[in-house]
Symmetry: C2
Subunit: 111 residues, 2 copies
């Protein structure tokens, strides 16, 4: 697989990239959060997920409080270099509701 240097990534006007988190064992999509350059570097070097919390405006080590850290298997980037895909081995549920994934609800179809 080709590689991309972190300096080539296209952070947005707020210095952020959306990061999709996927379970490396089940392939379930767990959550989407945002990374700035610092949280990405920590994610790459420590092999656990770090994000930038847009609501709290602070660095966020996923699982620091709950214990549900996400061990990083691989980090990919899309063709536009503006979205990350992080494959992880989660130590517990991704969602603060206790659900394994944050995507536990359907959108109502109005067909």
């Amino acid at each position: 697989m080709e590689t991309v240097a972190t300096k080539s990534l296209k952070f947005d006007a707020q210095g952020l990239l959306p990061a999709i988190v996927q379970d490396a064992e089940t392939d379930q999509v767990l959550m989407l959060a945002y990374m700035n350059a610092e949280s990405l570097q920590l994610t790459l070097s420590r092999r656990e997920t770090y994000f930038w919390s847009r609501s709290r405006n602070e660095l966020w080590h996923k699982g620091a409080t709950s214990g549900n850290v996400q061990h990083v298997d691989e980090v990919s980037v899309d063709c536009d270099a503006d979205t990350l895909l992080i494959r992880v081995h989660p130590a517990g549920p991704a969602c603060h509701t206790g659900n394994q994934t944050c995507f536990y609800r359907h959108v109502e179809t109005l067909a």
Copy 2:
């Protein structure tokens, strides 16, 4: 599975939601794009993916030109109601490069 009405979704200041597209057969994450209310309604009613192109500033029916439409299997939303997950049966590669997924490159590890 619980359902959420489209009127409860938290569109951002630009009226958009990020939408993760996942292959319903292989579970591969294919791409991330953005939906406004109109493209979401079209996606739900026509069962093919529609997005809002931020670069071209226009409604975008995925596959209209290439033929690589994405047949929609299910649409989920996360706990914050600000990100969509769309599971699809793709008629062809998701990426304009011809790759099955847009996430075909690793981010260089600087550990």
